[in-house]
Amino acid sequence: MDFNSIIDAIFINDFFTNWVPVIATLMIMSFLYRDNPLFKIGENIFIGIALGYMWTLLWDISVKPFFIMPLTDMFVEFHLSDLTIIFWFLLASTMLFRFNRKKAWVANYYFGFIFGYMAGMQIPIQVQNILMQSTSLMENVNKGSFYETSKWIVLVFGTFSALMYFFFSKPHKGILGKTARVGIVIMMIFFGAAFGSTVMGRVSLFIDRSILLVAHPFESMVSAGVIIVFLIVYFKFFHKEREFNDEGVL
């Protein structure tokens, strides 16, 4: 059995695919009772895996094609334009000076460039976005039914009145005040709808987790039992309450 087969055998097997997702789910759910070591272990595994996953992918997507490959090609056949990579690498490396308080200003050279570059790039893009937003509203009023037409009317006048709420060059009195008030209502509807959609999204995730637990009844029962016993033992014998002073400091 070679080395690669051993790694495959550890991470691709029925135990790993059936037990680990169930244990991971229950470890995080244990937080619903109280903050506990199992949750913290799960939390740190999650952070570590997420960072490792992201960096490994970024190595393939960004570091290798934009830096490592041009650098190795440079040693095979050198072009004068290859010096730009060295130049930008040295300039970008000045960002490391941000870790030193006294020399933090050295990083200004790269930040100055990057923000200027973004300014030059973003101004035409954002102007185009505004124009596209505005032109997409300019459509035929008659949509065929009252339901669709009412949508369009509320969309146009709602956007306008919500924008008027942010217009602070004149006091919000008279027509402007009434329009701004409609704008507040429109934005409240938006916040309410956004809240409703977020809640339903989270609930659907929870249902998905529940389906996973139901699909693996034996694993779920055993893992839940072990976690409950651990929590009872931990909070009964090992947990020490943190004491806070009057200002809420530990």
Binding site: M95, G112, G116, A119, A193
Partner: protein, 204 residues
């Protein structure tokens, strides 16, 4: 000199990029490529700085016993993923993807699913129709939530239609207005950077 030269560098970069938007030519194309390389290499160095920062933080946590064992666990998991990606690749069917689907996805989904409980508990305590605005928010959220489940349709068959109308018309209007404001704010900020009026991104 600590701020003037960086601002000048930024101005040159902005003018050259902006000029390329209006004037076609080899010079501007080359300049665009030159600055694009700068952005890409900046991203690469950014990843390295991120790795250094995470390593530094965890090193101090381990050294000064600030939740030492959790920091060790965290760093081990980072190395595990890097090792798996390096040893067996990142494509589907590899140990790397197995860890992603069987560890990362369940953890992430459960962490976000837990928020449902806390959002519900916060909403129960704070959602009170004390004014017209808060009543509107409450009613809109209830209709949108009911419109997304079959129970809503079972209660009254018009609820999904009303929910769709709320999302498509007034909610969309509010979102557009906020995005519009964001675009205007972005343009203003970029113009300030362009002319060197905004200097908060530069250190003393």
């Amino acid at each position: 000199m600590k701020k003037e030269i960086p601002i000048l560098l930024g101005l040159i970069a902005a003018i050259l990029w902006y000029g390329e938007f209006f004037i076609a030519g080899m010079f501007f194309d080359n300049m665009k490529m030159f600055f694009s390389d700068g952005m890409k290499i900046g991203g690469v160095v950014g990843i390295m700085i991120g790795a250094y920062s995470v390593g530094r933080q965890n090193y101090f946590k381990i050294k000064y016993n600030n939740e030492r064992y959790y920091a060790i666990l965290r760093v081990s998991m980072i190395f595990l993923m890097i090792f798996l990606g390096w040893a067996r690749g990142t494509s589907l069917g590899t140990p790397f993807s197995s860890v992603f689907f069987n560890v990362y996805i369940p953890f992430q989904a459960t962490v976000f699913a837990l928020l449902a409980f806390y959002i519900a508990s916060a909403a129960y305590r704070s959602f009170k129709a004390k004014s017209i605005e808060s009543a509107v928010l409450l009613i809109a959220s209830v209709f949108v939530m009911l419109s997304k489940i079959t129970l809503g349709e079972a209660m009254w068959d018009k609820i999904p239609v009303i929910g769709e109308w709320i999302v498509d018309a007034p909610s969309s209007a509010g979102r557009r207005a906020i995005i519009f404001g964001g675009y205007l704010g972005m343009i203003t900020m970029m113009i300030r950077i362009f002319f060197g009026l905004e200097r908060s991104h530069l250190s003393e």
